[in-house]
Symmetry: C2
Subunit: 173 residues, 2 copies
DNA sequence: TGCCGATTTTGACAAAAGTCAAAAGAAATC
DNA sequence: GATTTCTTTTGACTTTTGTCAAAATCGGCA
């Protein structure tokens, strides 16, 4: 009960416009956000090119686990793809909570495990599937992305050029 | 102190030959192993082809985090690349330990975070680096793998055919 | 409605990587 | 030390994907 009160007191809710950057590359991430309404993506700037790393929708968590775990500057940007509402709290608040209520480490562990498993599947598909197979997998598993993100974003997410994705799509939907 | 005693009592040490499978695809993983001496790799069987997922050396942990977290059958095999010695304990023992001593969840969380970060870097390199770049990155960051694993294993780890890796290597070491 | 800017598609060509097959080189076994 | 087996390299060719450039399409918005 006390744990719940402590959590409720530190939470803030914000409504933010499409295009807003919740986190910028090179800065140390200080927040966890829960995406209440809208959509977002994480992306990396590689030699001037914009490479999407993940997409997030209602109910997903937005943060840089890397930056949180290491305390180093994030190499990802987090951008809102639509006008959105987020619920946020700071790492300092979270760490204080973890210290006072160590049982939250269990949640942290389970959440991280979940992230890991999803990423593992993604890595596997890069390792031995063609771009076409990855695209069709995406249609099946995460159709939201197709509807809510642009072709360019999706192409870089799949690791192919925009033109190639356009041709894959043209062949047979 | 009690925690240490509990841990010490459940640990077993085993010496196993090269080629031994610590975990087989399709079976539910039941163990954590610490690799004391030797080397190992995780691999996946994809349409008859053998795809390496990771390599491990002295001091590394061998397990299927996926199988542990979900309770589902593992899709990876774990194979010893050399005669090796491992220290092992079961998931049941670990879970009992986590229940009795919840502070171990902190270690679990940190370990998983570490895994995640390494995998994230690997995924990034698939997403926007060429095979040649990935190979040179491997030379720099994990030279052990080059020395202790076969070309075929390394090729599938990098996501290229064996012939392509051989040609990359021929160009300029 | 009509224009502007952004996104997506298409074409032509170049580069990267895969496949199949054979040869060369190492390593293990007798 | 010869033979067998496994690993690595090389060659010829095909397929996949990337790049650059131009055309087509889509979406707001004046």
């Amino acid at each position: 009960m006390e744990g719940q009160m402590a959590l409720a007191a530190m939470v803030t809710r914000r409504e933010l416009p499409k295009g807003h950057l919740l986190l910028e590359q090179g800065k140390v991430c200080q927040h966890f956000y829960l995406l209440e309404q809208g959509s977002a993506r994480g992306y990396y700037n590689h030699e001037g090119k914009d490479v999407s790393l993940w997409f997030a929708f209602e109910g997903d968590v937005l943060t840089s686990l890397y930056s949180y775990a290491t305390g180093k500057p994030s190499y990802t940007n987090i951008e809102l793809l639509e006008d959105s509402a987020v619920i946020g709290f700071t790492f300092d608040q979270l760490n204080a909570l973890l210290e006072s209520y160590p049982e939250f480490n269990l949640i942290g562990r389970l959440l991280t495990e979940q992230y890991f498993i999803e990423l593992e599947e993604r890595t596997l598909s890069f390792q031995f599937k063609t771009a076409t197979e990855r695209y069709h997998e995406l249609i099946t598993k995460q159709p939201q992305i197709l509807q809510r993100a642009s072709l360019g974003h999706i192409a870089s997410f799949l690791g192919v050029s925009q033109e190639t994705l356009s041709r894959i799509r043209a062949k047979r939907e």
